[in-house]
Amino acid sequence: MTDASNNPRHPVARNAIALGVIALLGTALLAWVNSATKPRIAEQERRQLLDQLEQVVPADRFNNAMHEDFILVSDTLAFPGGQQAQVFRARQQGVPAAVAMKFYAIDGYNGRIDLIVGILADGQVSGVRVLQHRETPGLGDGIELRRSDWILSFNGRSLDNTAAEDWTVQRDGGDFDQFTGATITPRAVVRAVHRALEYFEENQEALFSRPSEFAASEEAER
């Protein structure tokens, strides 16, 4: 009456049970570690985001919870490669003061260069930082602040004080230094920042008026 494979001593059944037990134990362990580390990981990520925002928008310019006031935008010209740029809004007593945009340049020497760009409401760049990149150490990594202060040459720039044709490296007749033996990396960063500035100028009002997507993203986390 018994099918052989229903017999717990049958090899197939034994194997299935053994794998099942290991999978179950592994999953239980992961679930436990995940829930135990989740608050701390979220806190680390929040701290990191605050740190990034603080580097590109001066803290005395705003008094809202900027890191919770953001929207996602897409624009094939300004933010190519099918990406969504994240735009954080800084407000002083509710009045638009600045934005910080997180997006990436797609044309680095080794692909993506993740950037955060702070732009004051009057269109001036208040800071740019590279968040992540895979450019060649010693050649392209001068875009990092800990390697050189090249990235600070964006401070104070705007579409008004720097003409469109100057938004590139000196080799192409622009205003920005290249590095010795590395033109591709800085060119990619300069052009990406320029496109973001133009996007900001054209869409400033809409950028500040759309409702924040923070609540929705919190919801999705759960």
């Binding site: 090899p11 194997n15 053994a18 794998l19 037990v21 592994g26 570690v33 680390q44 992540q132 060649t136």
Partner: protein
């Protein structure tokens, strides 16, 4: 029994060193050894994974028949790596981001499944744990040596970016031995990893050969009368 543990340690750290003798797990070894701190971070993560997986594999021995052992090891290794990844994201977030993809890729380090199969599956939990520790330590030492050579040659420093692993207190730990602005790209880029590894393997073999020669000589000296040659 105690000699047994001594053998386990000597094999893992020197005689059968994963990185320098068995040459397993070369992908992370070559990719993440450009600075001492990166090497140390990945080495410690791998060590932790090895200790956990070896112990778990040994404990699961009574349950496992040979035909399902490999899927079972894969489950165990994947769980252990994910746990280490979560812990690193929570406690050493900056280092986690620097090492990036190489933490999840510990799963594919064949040294780990290799130890599960070659040692943990045939031994009791305590020796298996010791073996995981010894092999992990050997891998960490190989990584560290490679990282030190490449960082010294490439940047002229040691312990740069120590704060990624040890927090803000370590910000001043960097030791600079070369003139400022020293940079030797070859050492930092992937070809430098191959060249430096080749030199390290050669140095280890040379050292072993010399020790072997000295031991042989000593043996000869002990019995000169019986067998003159």
């Amino acid at each position: 029994m105690s000699a047994n543990y001594r053998d386990i340690m000597a094999d893992g750290i020197w005689r059968q060193n994963t990185g320098l003798v068995v040459l397993l797990g070369l992908c992370p070894l070559l990719a993440v050894s450009n600075t001492v701190i990166n090497a140390l971070g990945l080495g410690l993560a791998t060590l932790l994974v090895l200790v956990v997986t070896n112990t778990a594999v040994s404990l699961s021995r009574p349950m496992l028949r040979p035909e399902v052992r490999i899927p079972a090891y894969v489950l165990i290794i994947a769980s252990a790596v994910t746990v280490v990844e979560l812990l690193m994201r929570a406690w050493t977030h900056d280092l986690y981001q620097t090492l990036g993809i190489f933490i999840p890729l510990i799963v594919t380090n064949c040294a780990i499944i290799g130890r599960a199969e070659a040692f943990a599956a045939r031994n009791r939990p305590l020796p298996a744990l010791a073996d995981g520790f010894a092999v992990g330590l050997g891998f960490t030492i190989a990584l560290l040596a490679l990282g030190a050579v490449r960082e010294l040659a490439g940047y002229g420093t040691l312990l740069r970016d120590a704060e990624l692993l040890f927090g803000p207190v370590a910000a001043g730990w960097q030791i600079t031995v070369a003139p400022v602005d020293w940079e030797f790209l070859l050492a930092i880029l992937p070809p430098g990893a191959f060249i430096a590894l080749g030199c390290l393997v050669a140095a280890r073999n040379w050292f072993d050969a010399r020790r072997q020669a000295a031991a042989d000589q000593a043996k000869l000296d002990m019995q000169p009368a019986t067998e003159p040659s």
